[in-house]
């Protein structure tokens, strides 16, 4: 993530400089609409927070810029929200679609009006609609985690908690298992726990009763990791060396920072990627530099040394 982030920051920085120059000639009025899912769980809560922060920052640096952030609780209402936004004459749309199928056509309608389109995280069915695509890297999320298990454990038994049955979860888990191939690390059990703390607690309790020896747990998400830790603590099991969550929840990043033995690392999947997308979109209007393209943020291994770069104490996530 760092490199791409730096790149986009550089672009944004460039934009500020150039905007200053351009400002002298004409004050450029641009309206950017941001449509994202409402805060229905931790990660989307983080996305909303970062989108609002970025909106404030961008409007300060570019006086002619107006940013409208609109959240929607489901796919259908997001389609309606897009209609409403279109009516307000917008120059660019930054959209984190609920799902690819439902929102491809509504976004295409917006595009037909000549609006600049930036798609975030979940891709549309038709890639020709978007001018910019900013995405997290789900296969990499699984691979980085798998590689850490293979490198640190060398061999042993691992249990896996899966999220909600989706493409995202599938990409993560298959690449996790691929990264383990050839090492002595074995996945002895995997079950869905729906990215939910309570479900993770339940599944982990059952794993602990079922398997007498578990070396490590891939909880694949920080919310689930918290449920897992509580179950391990209750069972007083000493055989589990560590638990790996993911997504970079602030409480977990803090524990990595503090050197918690059970939580040695984390894998990033930053909700702040919405902010990255907004910066690049603004750069397109104020930057006088090419911005169109695809930006894939890396899923990075968060360790004790670099954790402070991923720690946002004010974010809800």
């Amino acid at each position: 993530m760092k490199h791409t982030m730096l790149k986009s920051l550089a672009i944004a920085g460039l934009a500020v400089g150039l905007a200053g120059a351009a400002h002298a000639q004409e004050k450029k009025n641009v309206t950017i609409a941001v449509s994202i899912p409402a805060a229905t769980h931790g990660w989307t809560g983080g996305a909303v927070y970062h989108a609002e922060e970025a909106a404030k920052r961008l409007q300060q640096t570019h006086p002619g810029l107006k940013v409208i952030v609109k959240t929607s609780p489901d796919g259908a209402s997001q389609a309606n929200a897009l209609d409403d936004l279109m009516a307000q004459k917008i120059d660019a749309l930054v959209v984190l679609p609920f799902n690819s199928d439902e929102l491809t056509n509504p976004v295409r309608e917006v595009k037909k009006r000549g609006t600049f389109i930036t798609v975030v995280d979940r891709g549309l069915k038709d890639a020709s609609i978007q001018d910019i695509y900013v995405a997290g890297n789900n296969p990499e999320f699984g691979r980085v985690a798998g590689k850490y298990f293979a490198d640190t454990l060398k061999q042993g038994n691992v249990v896996v908690l899966r999220g909600i049955p989706t493409v995202i979860d599938d990409e993560r888990v298959t690449n996790f298992e691929k990264a383990l191939e050839g090492s002595g690390v074995k996945v002895i059990d995997k079950q869905y726990a729906n990215w939910n703390r309570d479900d993770a607690f339940r599944v982990m309790q059952d794993y602990l009763s079922k398997h007498p020896k578990i070396d490590a747990v891939w909880a694949s998400d920080d919310d689930m990791a918290l449920g897992v830790l509580e179950a391990i603590r209750q069972a007083k099991r000493e055989d589990i060396k560590f638990v790996l969550g993911g997504a970079g929840m602030k409480e977990m990043v803090k524990r990595v920072m503090d050197g918690d033995k059970m939580i040695p690392v984390n894998v990033s999947y930053p909700p702040a990627l919405v902010a990255t997308a907004m910066n690049v979109t603004a750069a397109h209007f104020y930057g006088n530099a090419p911005a169109r393209g695809t930006y894939v943020l890396n899923a990075e291994l968060i360790t004790k040394d670099n954790a402070k770069n991923y720690y946002f104490p004010d974010s809800p996530f």
């Binding site: 939910n196 703390r197 309570d198 079922k210 509580e230 996530f317």
Partner: protein
């Protein structure tokens, strides 16, 4: 129907036996499931695993005891899951606000939780009785309201109990035990015991069943129908509150996904336990067995090595339907 019997003429001996079998059938299904679990994986039949399962079923069991009253009186409450999340959120916020790790703080927050939940139940009940709106619609509405309020309170993130001293002090309420019996299990027994006393041994309990079996007849017989219905929703609220008291110490947090789909699980537990969904029959102990059955089925799924994780839901659903079919055939066979 033994409840009805109390108000009508004495029941002949043979019929009474049949009804007992009916009441016992959820427990027979429970025993069959335990047998199935033991066949699936010998590690299933350990004291620690079974204790885990019963302890985990506490939230649904306690909420479902309240749901037994609502459903037996012909009502329905879809808001219990959201209500639990909302109550848990407010309780944790109260603890954070008061700060410190004193017993008095904890007791005050517990009081807040019980009051909030009871008030939520009272609100449901008032809209149903005074507003005369279908309970399905009312509680579907409040389900959305309570859920959004949690999301709002948490700003989309997590409401976490901050004081670690309080966390440690409160933790034993879920993880502790008295004479080897986990505290949540004791809570189930107490709540169900009180519920059974109220439903089977008091005039109010008979009124609940009467309203559920025929509202008009109940009204003509002088049963204060509205008041009875209102009270069932308040009882439901209090049960949600009690469930929250033992939910919060487990993970010390409430998230927007807390209590998701608990309403369906509670209703399922009630129906598995032998309470009629259309009202008129209420079975408290059956409900408790139903809640344990639900948790047990999920547990067996994790223990089985041959069910793909993609098919867990299908197998779970089939087991519940088969368990119900077995119950029915037992009842017919007498």
């Amino acid at each position: 129907m033994t409840e009805n019997a109390a108000t009508t003429s004495p029941v002949p001996e043979r019929r009474r036996f049949a009804f007992d079998l009916k009441a016992a059938s959820p427990f027979i299904a429970l025993a069959a499931l335990i047998l199935l679990g033991a066949v699936v994986n010998p590690d299933f039949l350990t004291v620690s695993n079974l204790t885990n399962v019963v302890t985990r079923s506490a939230f649904i069991a306690i909420i479902a005891v309240g749901a037994t009253f609502v459903i037996a009186s012909g009502g329905l409450d879809l808001s219990v899951g959201s209500m639990a999340a909302f109550t848990a959120g407010l309780m944790i916020l109260t603890l954070n606000k008061l700060g410190g790790a004193e017993t008095s703080t904890l007791l005050m927050a517990m009081g807040v939780a019980l009051m909030v939940a009871a008030a939520c139940g009272l609100f449901n009940g008032l809209v149903v009785t005074v507003g005369k709106i279908e309970p399905f619609i009312v509680t579907l509405g409040t389900m959305g309201i309570f859920r959004s309020l949690v999301i709002f309170l948490a700003a989309g993130g997590t409401i976490t109990l901050r004081d670690s001293g309080m966390r440690e002090m409160y933790r034993p309420l879920y993880f502790g035990s008295v004479m080897g019996i986990p505290i949540p299990v004791i809570a189930i027994l107490l709540v169900a015991g009180l519920g059974a006393l109220l439903l089977y041994k008091t005039p109010f309990g008979r009124h609940v069943v009467a309203v559920g079996s025929n509202e008009d007849v109940a009204r003509y017989s002088g049963v204060p129908v509205s008041r009875v219905r209102l009270l069932t929703y308040v009882i439901q609220g209090i049960c949600v509150g009690i469930a929250v008291l033992i939910y919060v110490p487990r993970l010390g947090s409430a998230t927007p996904t807390t209590g998701l789909l608990w309403e369906l699980q509670a209703i399922t537990a009630v129906v598995i336990g032998g309470t009629a969904l259309r009202g008129g029959v209420g079975r408290i102990w059956g409900t408790v067995a139903g809640a344990v059955i639900l948790e047990l089925v999920a547990n067996i799924m994790v223990f089985s090595n041959f069910v793909s994780e993609y098919l867990v839901g299908a197998v779970q659903g089939s087991i519940i339907i088969i368990a119900m079919l077995v119950q029915r055939s037992l009842q017919r066979a007498r």
